[in-house]
Structure formats: C-alpha cells, structure tokens
Amino acid sequence: MSILAEAFALVLQPYVLLVILSSAAFGMFVGAIPGLTATMATALLVPVTFFMDPVPAIAAIVTATAMAIFAGDIPGTLLRMPGTPASAAYVEDAYKMTRSGRAEEALGASLVFSALGGIFGTIVLVTAAPMLAEVALKFSSFEYFWLVVLGLSCAVFVSPGSVARGMIALIIGLFAATIGIDNPAGQPRYTFGNVELLAGVQFIPAMIGLFAVSEVLRFVASGAETPAVEKGGRTGVFTKQWTNLKRYPVQAMRGSVTGTAIGALPGAGADIAAWISYAISKKFSKQPEKFGTGHVEGLVEAGASNNGAVSGAWIPALVFGIPGDSITAIVIGVLYIKGLNPGPTIFINQPQLIYAVFIVFFLANLIMLPMGWIAIKAARTILSIPARILMPIILMFCIVGSFAINNSPFGIVLMLVFGVIGFLMEENDIPIAPAILGLVLGPMLEQNFVTSMIKADGSFLAFFERPIAAGLGLFTIAIWCIPLAMRLLRHGRGAASDASQLPGG
C-alpha cells in the first residue's frame, strides 16, 4: 500500500472523523467566547488527546485551533471583543459592519477567507515541509542552535508591547526549563529536594496555568459581566462572499502568503500575522480611508492571514521541532508524548503519519465552512452563556487536565504556580508567548549550545563556520541589531534637527 493510501486509511476512520467533528465544535465554542484563546483551547484539549492514538490526537488539535482562530471573529464582530488576539486587528471593521446590519456578511467573509487562508497554508506546508526536511537532515548542533535562538528572538521582537518585557518573559521560560536533572551534567538543578521536580517542569500543567488559569483569575479579578450582543441583521453568511472574492482576489492571496510566511517563522504566529496583513492591506488599498469604518477589505486579507499562519506554524514545528507559535509549542509537547519526535527524521521514519497530518489539515479547513455557519447562527446563544458560570467550570477542567498528565496532584500545584505567574505577567504587560517558547525550547537550546561549545572548544567563531549556520546566525544578529540601529539613527537625526533649530546652532 502506498504511503498516501496508508495515510488516508489512518484518517478516514469513523473514530478519527468523530474526533475531528467534536473538536471542531469544541474549538468553535472556546474561540467564540471572549477571553478564551485558541491556545487555551489547545491547552485544555491536550489532557484528552493524551488518551488517543497519534493521528486522532493531532487531528483534534489541528481542527480545534483552526476553528478557534476563526471563531474568535464572532465575539469580535458581535460584541467588539475579539475572542482571540488573532482577531483583534480587524475588530473595528467587523463591529462597524455589524452596526450597519451586515454582521452575517462580515462573519461570512471571515469564515470563507479563513478557510481559504488555511488551505493555502496547508498546501505550502505539504510542499515545503518535506523539502525542508531534506535540508534539515544535514543540520548539526550549530544550525539548530541558531534556529532556536532565531525562534526565541522572533518571539521577543514581534511580541506586543516592549521588547524588554518580551525578554523578561523569555528569561522566565528559559529559567523554568533549567529545572530538573535533564542537563548535560545530569545534576539536579533548582529541585529543592522535590522528587517530582527532578523530571523538570511538566510542560502541560505549566501551559494550562499560564494560559487558562491566569485568564480565569483575570476574569475573577475584573468581575466583568457578559455584555449584550448587537443585533447584526440577516444578510446571509455566504451570499456576498463570491463578490468579495472577485473584488479582492489579490488581498486574499496576499493575506494567505503573508500569513503562511509569518506562521512559518519560528516564534511568530497568527496574532502577528493578522496585524501585519491588516496593515499591508491598508497600505496598498485603493480606499485606505475606509479602513476602520466597516470595510470588508482588511477583513478578507487579515482573516486569510491568521488562518494561513496556523498552518504555516507547523512547518518549523514538524521539520525542526521548533514551534512556529505558542499553539505548535504545545503540539510539540504532545508529539513527544506520543513518541513522534518532531524533526527531519519523522519524514523518513513515519511518512504515513505526516501525510495523515496533512490530510487532517485539509479536512479541518473544509469542515470549517459548515461548522462555521452553524456557529454563526448559534452565536447569540453561545455568547449569552454568562462567564461567571463558565469560568468555574473551566477552572475545574484545568485542575483535572493538569492532574491527568501524570496522575499526580503535583501537576495541579504546578498549574497553580504558573497560573499566578501568568496573571502577574499579564498585569505587568509581559507577554506569555516568549515564556512558553523559552520553556519548550530551553532544553533544545541548552543541549545544542553545550554540544556546540564543546565541539568548538569554546570558540564562538565556529558558530559561523558552516554556511547555513552562518546565514542563520547573521540573520539572528540582524534581528537584534536592526531595531537598535534604527532607534540610534532616529535619535541621532532627532538630535541633529534639534541642534539645527537652536538659535545660532
């Protein structure tokens, strides 16, 4: 049997299809509730996937995230509260469309172009990943070292807010990753005699804490009430979309390409993709003045972009084991638990599984259309569930999920600690994503760094001796230096113009 046929056989089973359907519903639900992100959907799903075979487990995550990213547009459009950060870029336009009675058209555009972007991203994933894997087979510790540093740098520099705060998050993540006995000298670090910490900070409870518990705490602290839903009128979900596609083909394509590319960059994900695509769309639009007033153009481009990024993020995750965003960071954890060590060899050892993942991606983006339609129609009901009832249930799910990973109450302790850390981080505008990437990539960074230093006998020049390593290294250094240089330049120019304005200067 050919590999592709094997892959189809793995996916097209009633059980897997049922998993896809139910995780689609779950993703829609979580994404549609303001404050619950796609990452949180994934984090809550992981304890359940823990008990599944690899293919349904991955299928569940892929479907739920794709749905959640789209569904984030629903409260954005109806309440002006983006359900996920990835929907924040175009929330003004979507909400203004609702105010003018075009809610269904806005959501339809999000839905159709999300699916298009997702499918485009998947095609790129299918073609690019195996080719990149061929190249990645030749990588040594130097290349991996730079790739990890590049991923972490991107996470810091593209995170919203200040770069310094992104770095604090990174330090928190990297430090948490040093805990345990799994290090080059096999010596227990920062375990304080605790046996459970010897194995290191378990990733999933930490993740649930940082993303879900912190959100519950924030809700509890703010005491926010569920806002009333705008009536959006009934314009039909799909009726206008063909016209939109004919009017904005370039925008849809550009959004898909940008989104996939940004997603593929290690460390940057759907949130940033949507912002960048919205900005590009406005810059090149013939009617930039209409942006922010209920104009569908930005929605088309950024909607395609954030779902493209969801697929694109899997490229570095599968090929190098380096997550493209915080969702794939969780996925990598799941892959390891399932014995599927991400990296170029997975393409050689288990190609049928990789193809199965690709098929799941297509299915997830196709099933999005009918499921999305249902979600749009049911939106008012979903949004009327009060958060004061939902949040305690989510907290309970967090507790059970953290416990289920190792069947140990210590998971709940970790979850609580990281929940409080995440809450304090958000209070101080410190982004969470770099911390997660630091936690996931910390061990890989350490291993490749120490191995490389030993190989190079302590010489930093060796990190630039191989051509790809040198390229990656220079690219990484450029990411660090360009913002600094630009700031200095601006500062210098500002000083010069100040000086020229001085009398007699």
Partner: protein, 157 residues
C-alpha cells in the same frame, strides 16, 4: 500589582545575580569546561544585562523610586476576595480531594466560585452538580484517569 520599570529592572537584575550565584555550585561534564552550570550562567548574564538596561532606561526617563502600583482590581475588596477565594479553592482541592474524593471536592470548588461570582444559588448548585458528574464520567470512566474516589459515590465509577 504593577511594578514600575525601575522596580522591574531591579527585580530582573537581582534575579540574574541570584541565578549566577546559585549556578556556581553546578558541576561540569568531566573533562570539559561546560556542564550543568553553563545554561543558567548564560541566562543569568542575559538577565543581569537586561536588568541594568531597564534600570538605566527608567532612570533616564525620570523614575527615581522603585514602586509597586496597585491595579484597579486591588482597590475593590470584592475583586481581591474573589481572587483569593479562587486560589484557596484550588489549594483546597489539592489538599482535600485525596481524602474526600473528586466529586465532593470539585463540587465545592465550582459551586463556591460560582456563588462568589454572584451566580444565583440554585443555578450555581445545579450547574456544578451537572458539570461535576460530566467531568467525572468523561475523565474518570471514559479516559480512565484515576480521579480520587469517594466510598459513598462508588456507583459513579
């Protein structure tokens, strides 16, 4: 709780120094200059530099005192109480669940938190009972997670 930039910088610097000092005791791989301490030391240097940078930047921006600002929610007694209740409930679950079992413990966690968030008592209790049984059936029976059992509720398993 919001730390101002000066305080945040100081904390990061102190953290960096603490990591560096603690990493001095870690051993190297035999015969090599690198080992368990390499990565923590690298993180420590990175953190210290960042801390210094933040302090200098904060001083340049005119900040003179490290300060902890109170977030709006900390001024509302209700919000503070709710957050404390949520945290205490998780601790309660960790301590109580092994002896009283999952069902009663989770019921308390959900119902008390819902009541704290001003849900109507009847709704809170009804939803909590339902959610608790759904979670117990899904994780305890279907996924075979060994959730702590209670003797008198053995029929649920």
């Amino acid at each position: 709780m919001k730390f101002n930039d000066l305080l945040l910088g100081l904390l990061v610097l102190c953290g960096g120094i603490a990591i560096y000092v603690s990493a001095l005791g870690f051993t190297d791989i035999p015969g090599q200059d690198y080992g368990a301490g390499t990565m923590p030391r690298a993180i420590a240097v990175f953190a210290s530099l960042l801390g210094l940078f933040m302090i200098v930047k904060a001083l340049a921006a005119g900040l003179r005192m490290p300060r902890l600002e109170l977030a709006p929610w900390l001024r509302s007694r209700r919000s503070v109480l709710s957050v404390l209740v949520a945290l205490v409930l998780v601790v309660f679950y960790i301590l109580a669940a092994p002896s009283i079992g999952f069902v009663p413990a989770s019921l308390v966690v959900m119902a008390v938190l819902m009541l704290t968030l001003k849900t109507k008592p009847l709704t809170a209790i009804a939803v909590s009972v339902l959610a608790c049984i759904v979670i117990q059936q899904a994780f305890g029976r279907l996924l075979l997670v060994p959730l702590p059992r209670s003797e008198f509720l053995a029929f649920l398993w």
